[in-house]
């Protein structure tokens, strides 16, 4: 039997096995989760959580699905946080400094407190990627923010009212669409298919019997 520890879920004390994640501790304690539970493996950001260890001042941000319970952990979940998402047409905007100033001007009100970085559930350098966004260094912002799961804990701690995940998403889309060089082989292949360059080969292979296909498959050359 696992060691049992006390945790405080929304302030109420429960005794749970020490090996559980926070999410499992909720379920162990009898909660049927609806909100605050998504992929259960650290990718979707549904289970944003804030906690403090009793007697300590530090406030921690984490994902409930990927964080083990600790003794005397006081847990509040943040299943929804009102991030401000600006509407834009990706085909019409350009990766200029103006677009960030126009859509997310509040990033220039950052006071440099670094609370966002301290709260990040993915240990990202959030304040740094906001700094890149301020300077329209979108590629750097994209790289620095790439692992963001958009849980919103950073924004919940921001005195300037910045919606960091939305800023980063805009920077990534600008980078992916406009800044990274075009994949010419891809554009070319799309054109070739549209022009019917592979129609013959496709008709040919679709005309094969299963036995012929098996033979082709079992003897096909695999690229090294």
């Amino acid at each position: 039997m696992d060691e049992m520890i006390n945790v405080y879920l929304y302030g109420k004390k429960y005794s749970v096995p020490a090996s559980l994640t926070i999410m499992e501790a909720f379920e162990y304690s009898g909660y049927q989760l609806v909100r605050g539970c998504g992929c259960r493996n650290g990718f979707c950001g549904a289970c944003a959580t804030i906690y403090r260890i009793k007697g300590e001042n530090t406030l921690h941000g984490c994902l409930a699905c990927s964080t083990k319970v600790e003794k005397d952990m006081c847990v509040a979940s943040l299943p929804f946080f009102p991030l401000e998402k600006k509407i834009y047409t990706i085909e019409e905007i350009k990766p200029t400094q103006e677009i960030m100033m126009q859509l997310y001007p509040e990033i220039y009100a950052c006071i440099g407190c670094n609370a966002c970085t301290k709260a990040c559930t993915q240990q990202l350098n959030v304040m740094q990627y906001i700094a890149y966004a301020q300077r329209a260094e979108y590629e750097k912002c994209a790289e620095e923010s790439f692992d963001c799961v958009m849980c919103g804990v950073c924004s919940s701690r921001c005195p300037a009212g910045i919606s960091h995940p939305q800023v980063a998403l805009l920077a990534r889309r600008l980078t992916g669409k406009y800044i990274k060089p075009e994949a010419k082989h891809l554009t070319q292949r799309v054109g070739e298919i549209a022009d019917g360059a592979f129609d013959g080969a496709m008709a040919d292979i679709m005309g094969k019997s299963v036995d012929e296909l098996k033979e082709m498959y079992n003897t096909r050359v695999i690229e090294k």
Partner: protein, 533 residues
């Protein structure tokens, strides 16, 4: 750094380390077709007949499906006994998309592009989906040495030639344009300095055509699609489950009965076309397997469509991903992306032997792992026996820092539990990953029911009896867009007759006639992980 491995595991790691240099110099032999067939028959969970039951009511009567699915297909409707007024709908749209993952979002974007009034309804949030968790990548034949026909051959072979050829043709021929569409939306694919896509192998591919966004490929795609749905002001009704399809008196799809997940309120949606994009079934835990799937993967769409009269295809084939986490307990069953093996990591048994090629197709690889453990050659962990995946090979092959750059999600997942996979191998065992089968569709994305479209993991037939890595992200985009385009066009010529739920009543009558007595209600909507006292 100390690792949370037992002494016995650390001893076994020494053996893995001792053989590493020799293993890196050679490539394990691939199995012959005969060896693969024999292995699958003996060790693949799909061949475990005790875990399947016969469907006794409906279009697939007489066929097999996993017991858990059969129970839900033939269960009681959630609207049973309710007196519903279908004539005053709460929502009235051209296209209703059920499901907010990659397929549903792609469908909604394209239906919107076609000028239709489209709405997404999802029982959790948009993006709470298996798409978000797809790590490894997306296939498309866009390199010079590759072609749609080459891709077709790999898909058919991987699927044991059971795939529906016309669907495979669409998948491979529309592959490059799907990746191009994503790139134009701003998805940040891994590229070299000249813009060439960095592509790798997946299990069973004959060309390096796996495009990726680090190991957040699906997450990157999903967050861009979600942003695009929002930019287009497409309404998303979240935390609302579809619990039954509505048809009209002419037998066409005509909407759905919805239920607010939090308040329980019942809502009626009328629609000229419906797209089911409800995803997979991992949370049904077939055969007691853990799963890599998201919280809502409970096969709801299959239940809804089946009860309305749509047939299923290959509902008896599931994919067990060879590399689920076997240790530690907090991430038990979670996915270790196939990209780890694409980048060179080998399977090793407790003695440090590479007992099989790391990039066989998933069904073969999973069966190989199960066999090796059954032979007693697995690594003992406090949880269950598993197999080493020799992750330190990645930096050894490609240079220090590679794993951190190309597999940041994996590294983070393990580091949370003090396992540095750059330094020590990790223990894996197959996990329930994907529903190969699903609802039968034709090339236009339509099921057997007029104006009921299906896209994504809820579809059966594209992947035959086994899907290759990277073809699911591809299929949700290709068939999601296709369903949206088709529904967006079709809705303009639809005139609905009277709405009805009579199909629900007649299905219940058929079940009663067949002697089925059950307290189970379906769709399941969510699993229940509360502690059973």
């Amino acid at each position: 750094m100390s690792f949370p491995y037992t002494e016995e595991m650390m001893e076994s790691i020494k053996k893995v380390e001792a053989t590493r240099a020799a293993r890196m110099a050679t490539e394990p032999r691939r199995m012959t077709a005969e060896e693969k067939d024999a292995l699958l028959e003996k060790y693949h969970p799909d061949y475990n007949l005790d875990s399947f039951a016969e469907i006794i009511v409906g279009p697939n009567k007489g066929q097999k499906a996993p017991k858990e699915l059969v129970e839900l297909l033939q269960a009681n409707s959630r609207v049973k006994g309710m007196d519903l007024d279908l004539t005053n709908p709460d929502y009235d749209v051209d296209v209703l998309v059920i499901g907010g993952g990659g397929a549903g979002s792609s469908a909604a974007i394209e239906a919107n592009e076609a000028g239709a009034n489209v709405m997404i309804v999802t029982k959790l949030r948009i993006g709470d989906a298996n798409t978000m968790m797809a790590e490894g990548g997306i296939q498309a034949a866009d390199k010079e040495n590759d072609s749609p026909a080459q891709h077709y051959l790999d898909v058919m072979g991987g699927g044991h030639f059971a795939n529906v050829p016309e669907l495979v043709k669409k998948l491979v021929c529309d592959g490059p344009s799907a990746v191009n569409w994503l790139n134009k939306l701003g998805v940040l694919f891994d590229k070299d300095e000249n813009g060439n896509m960095i592509t790798t192998h997946g299990g069973g591919t004959s060309r390096k055509r796996m495009h990726a966004a680090a190991d957040y490929s699906g997450a990157e795609i999903m967050r861009v699609l979600r942003d695009e749905v929002q930019n287009r002001n497409i309404p998303v009704v979240d935390f609302t489950a579809a619990i039954e399809l509505i048809k009209d008196t002419e037998g066409k799809a005509a909407g759905a009965v919805l239920q607010n997940m939090e308040t329980g309120e019942i809502l009626i949606a009328r629609a000229k076309c419906v797209v089911i994009a409800t995803g997979g079934a991992g949370r049904l835990h077939y055969q007691g397997f853990p799963t890599s799937n998201h919280y809502g993967a409970t096969a709801d769409g299959l239940v809804l469509a089946y009860r309305a009269g749509a047939s299923l295809l290959y509902q008896d084939t599931l994919q067990y991903h060879p590399t689920g986490v076997a240790f530690p307990s907090q991430i038990y069953g979670a996915l270790v992306t196939e990209k780890v093996r694409s980048m060179g990591a080998m399977f090793c048994n407790a003695e440090g032997e590479a007992f099989m090629h790391p990039l066989e197709t998933r069904d073969v690889a999973a069966s190989g792992v199960i066999r090796e453990v059954a032979r007693g050659n697995g690594v003992h962990t406090p949880l269950r026996d598993g197999i080493w995946l020799d992750t330190p090979m990645i930096d050894a092959i490609h240079g220090e820092g590679t794993l951190e750059k190309r597999l940041p999600g994996m590294l983070r997942m393990y580091m949370r539990y003090d396992i540095d996979m750059r330094k020590v191998p990790i223990v894996i065992y197959p996990t329930l990953h994907y529903q190969n089968g699903g609802i039968h569709i034709t090339e236009d994305g339509m099921s057997d029911i007029e104006n009921l479209y299906v896209a994504g993991e809820a579809v059966g037939g594209i992947h035959g009896r086994n899907r290759l890595m990277g073809n699911s992200l591809l299929d949700i985009i290709v068939f999601g867009r296709n369903a949206g385009q088709q529904a967006g066009k079709k809705c303009k010529e639809v005139t609905l007759a009277e709405p009805t739920l009579s199909h629900v009543d007649s299905f219940a009558a058929e079940c009663a006639e067949a002697g089925i007595k059950t307290d189970v209600v379906s769709p399941k909507v969510l699993p229940d992980y509360r502690r059973q006292k």
